[in-house]
């Protein structure tokens, strides 16, 4: 039994390594694609296009405007003359935010009449709008309290507020102090790569043998189905585990810390890969041609991907989809990879995810093994 299995394993490994296109694809997903997407794709908001309508045109109003021009969150695209012109800019997408400083801004401020500054935000992208609104409020609050503290000579003392804020928030961001999206993105790209390769590779390699007809030759040999099953999946598993290492280098290059333990990460990655491979084999057993297999895996991967929390947070989904997403192995793996890297979580925190992966993996592998045998 031993030699038979070993020779089969050797054959599969050789076949795997001969497939240059697949190897290149795996390496591409783990390195170049990860780097490219991490650099490009971000929800971090900077350089918001701001148009300023300064109806006051005084030195005081320019002080306020300067607070916006120096902030790197904003990029001033111009100074429309009137509100109507500014609105046209918003409509054509030339500006995303319009700041309108009213006439008599300086006068009202000096008389402590609390002038109103208007901001119009393009809400097309509600996400950017919410963040932009926060930035704007922060800048104006800071200006406002700086003004009251400085208390220019012309402001009567009795008009000064007693303190700037009665309750002061002291906000700290945990696990990702600089709120950089890149650390999230790079980890989620690594998880995606593992998912795609884990599903597509075994599906393609098994279906190809079906299409070419060599699977008949394998069936007439004394090899048992179980041996064939393991020999088909083991090289993929090993290759995917090896591919994690260049991925780790990419992660390091983006200054993402590994706060948890590497062996734990690798162990849980293996668990995750087993469920991905199970899905791949399942697809291969129910399809006949490579085209069907590829189409099925692509359209199967899309929901798994979008229900995983890699692109959009799971908490914002409707309850039903949140429940459905529990069946996606990628969702649990995302929590694991973020937990191990950013939070330094150990098995004490991650055992529910590990258990879920184990359950999903067992179901998929059993289904795959059954479908595999029937053929």
């Amino acid at each position: 039994v031993g030699t038979r299995f070993v020779s089969l394993l050797v054959k599969e490994s050789i076949q795997f390594c001969r497939d240059k296109a697949m190897l290149a694809l795996i390496l591409f997903f783990y390195t170049l694609d990860t780097v490219m997407c991490t650099m490009a794709l971000t929800f971090d908001v900077k350089d918001l296009e701001l148009a300023v309508v300064d109806l006051d045109a005084s030195s005081v109003s320019r002080q306020l405007i300067e607070r916006f021009t120096v902030a790197q969150e904003f990029k001033v695209v111009g100074y429309p003359r009137s509100e109507a012109e500014a609105e046209a800019w918003l409509q054509s997408g030339r500006a995303m935010i319009v700041l309108i400083v009213p006439r008599d801004f300086a006068g009202d401020l000096l008389q402590a009449k609390a002038p109103q500054v208007q901001l119009v935000v393009d809400g097309t992208n509600s996400n950017i709008a919410a963040i932009a609104r926060g930035y704007v409020l922060k800048i104006i609050t800071a200006y406002s309290s700086a003004w009251s503290q400085r208390a220019g000579p012309s402001v009567p003392v009795y008009l000064l507020p007693s303190h700037s804020l009665s309750v002061q928030p002291l906000t700290r961001i945990r696990y990702n102090q600089n709120l950089e999206f890149s650390s999230f993105m790079v980890l989620s790209m690594i998880a995606l790569a593992a998912m795609m390769v884990g599903v597509v590779q075994p599906a393609a390699s098994i279906v190809r043998e079906k299409e070419v007809g060599t699977v008949e030759q394998l069936l007439v040999t004394p090899i048992t189905t179980a041996e064939l099953f393991i020999a088909k999946t083991l090289p993929t598993l090993l290759m995917c585990l090896l591919a994690v290492f260049p991925g780790l280098l990419v992660v390091r290059a983006f200054d993402v810390p590994l706060r948890g333990s590497l062996p734990l990460f690798l162990a849980l990655t293996t668990l995750f890969l087993i469920s991905a491979i199970g899905l791949g084999v399942l697809i291969a057993s129910v399809t006949k041609t490579l085209q069907q297999a590829l189409l099925t895996s692509v359209f199967g991967l899309i929901p798994i991907l979008f229900l995983s929390g890699t692109l959009a947070p799971v908490e914002s989904m409707p309850r039903i989809l949140q429940t459905v997403s529990l069946a996606s192995p990628l969702r649990h793996y995302m929590e694991i990879i973020l937990g191990v890297f950013l939070k330094g979580a150990g098995i004490a925190e991650l055992w529910p995810q590990a258990l879920a992966l184990l359950a999903i993996g067992t179901v998929l592998l059993t289904a795959a093994a059954l479908a595999f045998r029937r053929r």
Partner: protein
């Protein structure tokens, strides 16, 4: 170029499609499925954030602050903790996204008109949500009403959000999806339709016939363009009606621009089919040049203006971003031709180039 020859190819192609009802149903149902899935699954709205409180003060004032959080509608109280370690563990496990520590003497400090400091800990793993959570929390604390303190406002900001006043993310996800879905399906269908003939060898018969390259491509284009246009009609009407997206612009403009866009995406399919001999290769190629960039580099989810410059160029190399802009402007802003003509010109140019390339590549094959 003879019209009757083009029509002959079209008729042949339509007959072939009619005999394959599975493909037709799949090509109409798949976009709808994707629309439903993404319309619900991709939401960047931040709401129902689970928070934890460690209240060292336990006075009516401190409870009022917690109430202010709960009444804002953004936060759910997940746990009240007695120890720092408990709270940390909850944050660590990801059970709560925000932890608030109210110091002892919070009430006393406010009574004395001192400034009291409240500590807010935000889980930063998903930086986008974290940013919004931090903004909301800061605003709630800053606006926390203390009865006899005098208001502090040297300048009053009045912020209005236009085009999407309730800031529903589905309003911009759905118009963006039109572009994504139509970049994913029509090219794939077209590519497979042509490469199938190459693989089975029936393309040799076409080469042997008096049919010219452009005639063949046009004959192929029209049926697949028709299906693609049905797709855009279905996805647009259904998407806007089902998800209750306010339609502010003109349907004619949206569908007119959509027609140019689908011709462009079908053209990409034609181009890819001239590059590949095998269906598998054609499919992978179509995925790499259409599906991936349409999700990631179209501005559908990730804004293009925050990308580094070279990635912005990369994004400009795919038609998705132009139609994403057009669809959002027409649907949400009620934009007219005057507002979006730039994107329309890019789209037209893009389509022309794709067709020129496809014809050129195809002719070389015939020779």
């Amino acid at each position: 170029m003879k019209p009757q020859r083009i029509i002959a190819v079209m008729v042949k192609e339509l007959r072939e499609l009619a005999r394959d009802p599975v493909t037709i149903w799949a090509s109409l149902l798949m976009p709808l499925t994707l629309l439903m899935l993404f319309g619900y699954a991709i939401s960047l709205d931040v709401k129902n954030i689970s928070m934890g409180v460690w209240d060292l003060d336990r006075t009516p004032r401190s409870r009022a602050l917690v109430d202010a959080f709960l009444q804002s509608g953004y936060f759910n109280l997940h746990g009240v903790y007695r120890q720092a370690a408990e709270m940390d563990a909850a944050l660590q496990r990801g059970e709560i996204k925000l932890a608030m520590v109210i110091p002892a003497r919070f009430h006393a400090a406010l009574e004395r008109h001192d400034t009291a400091t409240v500590q807010l800990l935000v889980d930063g793993t998903f930086s986008n949500t974290a940013q919004i959570v931090a903004n909301y929390a800061d605003a709630i604390v800053a606006q926390f009403h203390v009865p006899d303190a005098r208001p502090v406002t040297a300048v009053r900001p009045e912020i209005r959000v236009w085009y999407n006043a309730q800031m529903r993310s589905v309003n911009y996800i759905v118009p963006g999806l039109f572009a994504v879905i139509l970049l994913a399906f029509p090219p794939l269908l077209t590519t497979l339709g042509i490469v199938r003939e190459k693989e089975s060898g029936s393309i040799q018969q076409i080469f042997a016939s008096p049919l010219t390259g452009p005639e063949f491509l046009l004959g192929k284009l029209l049926p697949y363009g028709l299906i693609a246009f049905l797709q855009i009609l279905l996805v647009s009407v259904f998407g806007i009606a089902w998800f209750d997206v306010p339609m502010r612009g003109s349907w004619w403009l949206l569908l007119g621009a959509g027609l140019i866009y689908v011709l462009c995406t079908v053209g990409i399919g034609l181009l890819v089919s001239t590059l590949a001999r095998k269906q598998v290769v054609a499919m992978l190629l179509a995925l790499v040049v259409t599906l991936m960039p349409s999700f990631l580099y179209s501005g559908f989810l990730f804004p293009i203006f925050t990308m580094p410059v070279h990635s912005q160029w990369y994004a400009s190399a795919f038609p998705g971003r132009y139609y994403v802009d057009i669809a959002r402007a027409v649907v949400m802003k009620g934009a007219e031709l005057g507002d979006i003509w730039r994107n329309m010109v890019w789209l037209l140019l893009y389509t022309a180039v794709v067709f020129a390339l496809a014809t050129w590549r195809f002719r070389k094959k015939v020779a």
